[in-house]
Amino acid sequence: MSLLEVTGLHVWFEPPHAAEVHAVQGVSFALDAGERFGLVGESGCGKTTTILALMGLLPPNSSAAGEVLINGQNILAGGEDSVQPYRWKDVAMVFQGAMNALNPVKKVGWQIAEPMAFHGVAQGATARKRAGELLEMVGIPAAAGERYPHEFSGGMRQRAAIAMALACEPKILLADEPTTALDVMVQAQILELLTGLSRDLGLALVLVTHDLPVVAQVCERAAVMYAGEIVEAGPTDTLYHAPRHPYTRLLFAATPDLYGQDAVISIPGAPPRLDSEVAGCPFRPRCDVPLERCADEHPDLRLVGAAHCAACHRNDLVVAP
């Protein structure tokens, strides 16, 4: 049994005066303690929605289906009542732009202690002491807890947001674009911190980003999402060196590399709208090697190698070794 097991997760949004959007379409993955897993894709592919669903934090105009098992317990079974006991204590999140989400009129230490009191982990002086320890753990002097967010630099605020997520000793940390607004040097510091936390505390890390090189450097495994589905998943090394879905290959080819020699090519077109059923393979209009059957036959995610799966009809043409 894995620490986190997501099976057939679907999320629908019902915007007012518009058609229902099927944002997440049957996403499944599993994660063990200490593992670092990347969820990559373009904006609108459903990666953020997927992890918000794991936290039970979807907006009211949405509905979710499928299973999210934490240590075998389905936290989605009974709505808010079944998620609440797990939220922040078992699964915590560093939100996108978290460094700008701190309360400007509260001291940083107080903000880190607040979830401990709310979830009944620690109170008063104990909570404040633990907030100081958490700050030290993320590389900020404990005394800085007495300061306000505006006295922190961007990198320090992001560290504080990570400390806050760790307040109730979660087993799973979901990080949504944790380094996107940061400079490369600060990004490297934050990524090293996250890697260290997963290694030293056995924290399972889900890193959501559009930045393939960040995932390549931090995560052992990753899933590539497109139009609400996982189209390929496997070890990051395999995804880069032997991708089995054209989207993964093209996404890497569109990413400039410091020492890369090959031409950087963009992927023509745009992802399909998700407010109506997509016939066939959702990537077919942008694919450089489509087959005839891709137009009307939806490819399912299938095992193509060791711990490696892809959703592409082309894999049927290759005889498995």
Binding site: D183, V184, P213, H241, L251, A254, P256, V264
Partner: protein, 351 residues
């Protein structure tokens, strides 16, 4: 370059043709300081005025048809450098010669006709385009401001040409669309068309793709690449993304705390870095290949406050190899011993 370029006032072009050896852009010892605001009590107490040394002695040249990348962390002064070149901020010192004319010495009235020769593309096409303007309005407005095109029909013709050059084809389909009907990449192309329509000699691009999706970034960058190769336009790209700079720029200038600390041909700066700051910066750039997980050389702390620039070499407090003399002597750009081309410069006492 184009008919657009010939259609305008002859000032800029004439200078360029009479002195062909003059580089398109020559920035010399540029200094732009911002004064720190003092409260009333601080003024009464006669506290000394404090200055943010945003740009503190920057010099570089840019030739026609060349793309140069100005890279560095936030607060290093790369955006202030661009704003000073554009004339949005007055420099405290130095000269900015565009086709040989020093823009710093010109008053607003004489600067205005030259403005069309230097155009800017901003980071966020979701904010740089007016949401109530159709594509045609966004692209035609600069022509109205600069008095280009005698009739609506002619302005529309020029707008269509600019949109086509920016890769929005067929352009007529896009003319009457609003920004919200376009994707991020298409919006940035509209912003590029609005800059191209004036036939600029110099294009300043401030993080032109950082707000765009990975899959379309390469397209916009290739467009900029093609524009400067086809015409005689120069592009100064400001970016924090070294991988992009390495792949698309001819030359890279690395800025730290208001100064260029290393500059040279892109491949030399990336493959044979000389300044310890450049080396550290390159080591932390994530690589696509998971097998290339070299130990990053992470500098502790963040860029110091540009109000109190460290004495001596401004990088010495964070430098892993600093020696005693680094605290005393301010290094100037020079040819490093390890360089393989005379065009490579670094400002470090130890190279």
């Amino acid at each position: 370059m184009s008919e657009n370029g010939k259609a305008g006032p002859a000032t800029a072009g004439a200078v360029g043709t009479t002195a062909p050896k003059v580089p398109l852009l020559e920035v010399t010892d540029l200094k732009t300081y911002y004064q720190v605001r003092r409260g009333l009590t601080e003024q009464l107490a006669r506290r000394p005025k404090l200055w943010v040394h945003a740009v503190d002695g920057v010099s570089f040249r840019l030739a026609r048809g060349e793309m140069m990348a100005l890279v560095g962390e936030s607060g290093c002064g790369k955006t202030t450098t661009a704003q000073t070149i554009l004339g949005m901020v007055k420099p405290n010192n130095g000269s900015i010669r565009l086709n040989g004319t020093d823009l710093v010495k010109l008053d607003e009235r004489r600067l205005r006709p030259l403005r069309r020769t230097l155009q800017m593309i901003y980071q966020d096409p979701y904010e740089s385009l007016d949401p109530r303007f159709r594509v045609r309005d966004s692209v035609e407005e600069p022509m109205l401001v600069h008095g280009i095109g005698d009739s609506r029909a002619q302005r529309e013709k020029l707008a269509v040409e600019a949109l086509e050059r920016a890769g929005l084809s067929p352009a007529r389909v896009f003319l009457d669309r609003f920004p919200h009907e376009l994707s991020g990449g298409q919006r940035q192309r509209v912003a590029i068309a609005a800059a191209l329509v004036l036939g600029p000699d110099l294009l300043l691009a401030d993080e032109p793709v950082s707000m765009l999706d990975v899959s379309v970034r390469a397209g916009v960058l290739s467009l900029l690449d093609a524009l400067r190769r086809n015409g005689d336009m120069g592009i100064l790209m400001i970016t924090h993304d070294l991988s992009t700079a390495a792949r698309f720029a001819d030359r890279i200038a690395v800025m730290y705390l208001g100064r260029i600390v290393e500059q040279g041909p892109a491949s030399d700066v990336v493959r044979n870095p000389q300044h310890p700051y450049t080396k550290a910066l390159l080591s932390v750039v994530p690589k696509r290949d998971p097998r290339e997980r070299a130990a990053p050389q992470i500098l502790t702390g963040e860029t110091p406050n540009p109000i109190e620039v460290p004495a001596g070499c401004r990088f010495h407090p964070r430098c892993p190899v600093a020696v005693e003399s680094c605290r005393l002597e301010d290094p100037q750009l020079r040819l490093p011993a390890g360089a393989t081309t005379p065009a490579h410069q670094a400002a470090c006492l130890l190279v």
